[in-house]
Symmetry: C2
Subunit: 462 residues, 2 copies
C-alpha cells in the first residue's frame, strides 16, 4: 500500500474552481456601511482591477496563468498521503488521506494565494504590497511570493507576535520584506492608538487598518493591499488543493471521499480542500463536509448569519457571513490562524445551504490529537491543522464503531515547526481549555443590529 500519491508537474490543475458558479442561491453582495450596493470600482483603490474582477466573477473555471503555475511548482503538486500508521493505531477500517500543504517554503497553504495575488498585482503595474499578519504565517507567505515575483512588501505584524516570534520576522526579512510592529508611527491609525495606549500589544484589527491606510496613502498609486483569507478570490486560489486531491484519490483507486475535513479561521484552507467536493455534492454525490473551528472562536457553530465588517476597525465593506461580531476578541488560543470573528462569505453561504456541517473542538483535545499524530505519522502539525486531525480521528473511530470502510480526506494545512510553544505548554500540563460562554458574544453581536439583515435563504437538501 502506498503512503503517498504524487502527481507529476504536468498534471498540476490548470484552472481554479469557483464555487460561486454552482451555489444553489447566489451570494449576497457586499454592501457599503450605509447599506447601499457596493460598486466594484470602490474596491479598486485597495485591490488591483484584475483581482476585483476575480472577486466578483461567477465563472466556474478560471485559468491559472502559466507564470503562476511555474512558481507553484516549486512545491506543487503537493503530496496526498495515506495515514497508514494512524489507521493501524486506531484499528479503524477507514482509509485516511491527507493533502499535505506543509511542503511549501513558508510551511503552509498560504503561498497558494500569495503567489497568485503578487502576480496579478505585478501584472497590473503595482510595485508594492502591504498586509497585516498575526502569528506570521500569512506575512511570511506574502514576503516569499513578493520576493520571487519582484514586488516590495511591507508587513504590519501585531506587536505581541512581533516581540514573541522574532523568527517569523526574520523569515520575512530573509525574503526581503519590511516587517513593522503594529501599532506603528507610520500611519494615522497607528499613531492614534500609540498616543492612547503606548504599551498596547496590538491587534489584527489595528494592523489591518494600518496596512490598508498605508496602501491607500501611497501617492504614486503603485501600492495595494493584500488579504490572506475570507475573500472570494483568496478562496478561489486555494481550490488547487482540492482539485489536486481529487486527481490523487482517483490514482489511489478511490471513487470519492465519504468525509472531507478542514480547519476554519477565515476559511481559506477549508475552502481549498472542500469546494471541489461541494461541487460534487451539489451534483448528487454523498459526501459529508466538515469545517472544524476552535470552541474559543465558534463562528460557524454559534454565530448568526448576518452582515458585518470583515475587520475590527470597520474599514472593509459589509459582508454577509457567519460572525461573532467584529468587536469580538477571541481568547489567546495557540491556533492564531483560527482566531477570526467572521467567516468567508462563500463558506458561510455553503453553511446556510446545508452543504457543510461545522464542528467546534477545544484546543486541549486538538493537542492530544496532534501528539498522537506526531508519534504515529511522524510529522508535527501546526496548531490550526490539529483541529482537522482531531476531527479525522473522531471520524475514523466512528467508522470503526460502525464497521464502515469510509474514505476520510483532510487538509494538512501546515507544519508546526515555527509554533512549538503550544506543544511545550501541553506537555508541561499548562494548556488552557477555552469554551466560549454565549453571553460573552452578546455585546459584540448587538453592534450588528444597525446593519441591513442578511436575506433568509430557502436551502436545498443534501
Amino acid at each position: 500500500m502506498r503512503k503517498k500519491i504524487l502527481l507529476d508537474e504536468k498534471d498540476i490543475p490548470k484552472q481554479w474552481y469557483n464555487l460561486a458558479a454552482d451555489l444553489p442561491t447566489p451570494l449576497q453582495p457586499p454592501l457599503a456601511p450605509d447599506g447601499t450596493a457596493l460598486n466594484p470600482k470602490m474596491l479598486e483603490r485597495v485591490f488591483p482591477a484584475n483581482i476585483v474582477e476575480q472577486e466578483i466573477s461567477t465563472c466556474r473555471w478560471i485559468d491559472i496563468p502559466q507564470e503562476i503555475l511555474e512558481i507553484l511548482t516549486i512545491w506543487r503538486p503537493a503530496p496526498l498521503r495515506r495515514a497508514l500508521a494512524l489507521e493501524k493505531y486506531l484499528k479503524t477500517p477507514a482509509r485516511i488521506y491527507y493533502k499535505d500543504e506543509s511542503t511549501s517554503p513558508a510551511g503552509s497553504h498560504k503561498p497558494n494565494t500569495a503567489v497568485a495575488q503578487a502576480w496579478y498585482n505585478k501584472k497590473f503595474g503595482i510595485k508594492r504590497l502591504t498586509t497585516e499578519t498575526g502569528a506570521g504565517q500569512w506575512g511570511s507567505a506574502l514576503a516569499f511570493a513578493c520576493s520571487l515575483i519582484g514586488l516590495k512588501c511591507r508587513v504590519y505584524m501585531v506587536r505581541i507576535s512581533f516581540d514573541q516570534k522574532p523568527m517569523r520576522r526574520t523569515m520575512m526579512q530573509t525574503w526581503g520584506a519590511e516587517c513593522i510592529a503594529s501599532p506603528s508611527p507610520h500611519t494615522h491609525a497607528g499613531r492614534a492608538v500609540l498616543k492612547e495606549m503606548p504599551h498596547t500589544p496590538g491587534s489584527l484589527g489595528i494592523a489591518i487598518s494600518e496596512a490598508v491606510e498605508d496602501a491607500l496613502s501611497d501617492k504614486s498609486g503603485k501600492s495595494r493591499y493584500s488579504l490572506g483569507s475570507v475573500l472570494n478570490h483568496v478562496l478561489l486560489h486555494q481550490t488547487i488543493i482540492g482539485l489536486e486531491a481529487k486527481k490523487q484519490l482517483k490514482i489511489a483507486g478511490e471513487k470519492k471521499p465519504d468525509v472531507v475535513i478542514g480547519c476554519v479561521g477565515g476559511g481559506s484552507n477549508f475552502a481549498g480542500i472542500a469546494f471541489p467536493f461541494i461541487c460534487d455534492k451539489i451534483h448528487g454525490a454523498k459526501i459529508e463536509i466538515i469545517p472544524v473551528e476552535p470552541t474559543a472562536c465558534p463562528t460557524l457553530t454559534k454565530g448568526p448569519f448576518a452582515y458585518d465588517f470583515g475587520d475590527v476597525a470597520g474599514l472593509t465593506p459589509l459582508l454577509a457571513m457567519y460572525t461573532l461580531g467584529h468587536n469580538f476578541i477571541p481568547e489567546p488560543i495557540h491556533a492564531g490562524g483560527l482566531r477570526y470573528h467572521g467567516m468567508a462569505p462563500l463558506v458561510s453561504q455553503a453553511r446556510v445551504e446545508g452543504l457543510i456541517k461545522p464542528r467546534a473542538y477545544d484546543q486541549v483535545k486538538c493537542y492530544e490529537s496532534a501528539m498522537l499524530w506526531a508519534r504515529t505519522e511522524g510529522m508535527i502539525p501546526a496548531p490550526e491543522t490539529s483541529h482537522a486531525i482531531a476531527c479525522a480521528i473522531d471520524e475514523a473511530n466512528k467508522a470503526r464503531q460502525e464497521g464502515k470502510k469510509k474514505v476520510i480526506l483532510f487538509c494538512y494545512s501546515g507544519h508546526g515547526l515555527m509554533d512549538l510553544a503550544g506543544y511545550d505548554k501541553f506537555i508541561s500540563g499548562k494548556l488552557t481549555r477555552y469554551s466560549l460562554p454565549v453571553h460573552k458574544i452578546r455585546d459584540s453581536l448587538c453592534a450588528l443590529k444597525k446593519f441591513p439583515p442578511a436575506k433568509k435563504i430557502k436551502t436545498g437538501k443534501w
Copy 2:
C-alpha cells in the same frame, strides 16, 4: 523544463552502497588507545552486534530491511530539484540540481540513519537509546525515529543549546524523548563537570561522555548509544541520498554530474550524496567531488591525516582521519552541525586517495549565498546547507566564465526554519567572519603525537 524529479515509492533504492568495498586502499582499522587492534566485540557494549557488523562490513551492497523502507517512505524518495531561478539569475549555462533532504519530518537528512539505527537496535532486543545533540538536529531525528519504532530515547543536549533553543527540546519531547541539559547530575561524567564548573555552557564532548556512560551503566543491558555521523554504518545509511539522485538524474536526461557538492562536519550528508558517485569515479567517470567545510573548522583543508579520538573526552577508539585534534573547540559559527574536529574515516580515506577536493568557506559568504537562494529558489536553507549552496554558485559562475554546460549536483541537507538566528545576525550586519589561524590548532595537534601514525598511502590518479 521540470523543476523537480520525483521517484515513485516503488523505485526507492532497496540496498545501501558501501564505499569500503571499492576504496583502492583498505580503511585503516580503528585502534585501542594503546595502539593495539580493536576487537569488534569491544564495540558491542556500546552498539548492538548487527550495527557493529555493518560498521566493519566490506560488502558493496547491503539490503535495506522492508520495515525500514516503510518508515523512510514517509518522506522518501526525496525530490531532486532543478534550481532554474538561480541558474537564470546567475546567467549560467550550468544545470544545477539539488537533492532535497529538508522534507523529512525532522527537517534534515539525519532521519535516514536514525530510523535505520533505531530499527536495528529494536531488532536486537534493545529497549532504549541514548545520544547527545548540539544544535538539536540529530537529537530530534533520533527522537522521531524512536517514537515511530517504539524505543525509549534520552538525549543529552549541550546546556547552552538547551537554554537557547527551547523549541528543539519541545520537538524531541513531542516525539516522546527525554531531553536533558548536559552536563547533568545523571552521570559520573556530568556530576564531575558540574562540581568543577557549575555554570558551564557544556560541550559536545561532555554530552557524548554522558550519553555513552548512560548506555553502558544500564544494568539490564537493554540500552545502547547512537551516533549521528562519522562512523561507517552512519554514512552507509545516508547513501540512499546519492542512489536516489542517480536514478533521478537519469530521468532528467543527464548521463552524469560533472560536479557533486556537499557540506561536511562529521561527513554524513556529504557521504550520502557523494559515495555512489565516488564509486563511478573509481571506475573511470570524470566527476569533480567537493566537500565544503567552514573556514572556522577546516578539518579536511588544514588538518593532518592521523589517528585521533572521535570525541573530546577520549572515550571512542582511535580513528584514522583528518583532524584538528580532539581538544580543538571551533568558534561559535551558526552552522553547529559543521563544528566537529574530525572527519569520517571513509571521507578521510577518499581525500587521501585524491578522490575528493575539499574547500573551506567563511560563514558570511555562505549567508550571502543563502539569502540569494531564498530570494530566487524560495526556500530558506539550514546554515550547514548554505556551504554547499555557496560552492554550487561558485561552480555555476565558473561554468559561465568557461562557457561550459556543466551538470552540478548538491545535497540540500536541511531547511533553516529552526535556525533563523544566524539570518537575523546577517541581516542586521552583525555576523562575524572566522578564519582559523594555523597557530591555534598547533597545541591540540601536539596531543596526537602519542598515537601510532596513520600509514602513508600510495594513491591513485583521478
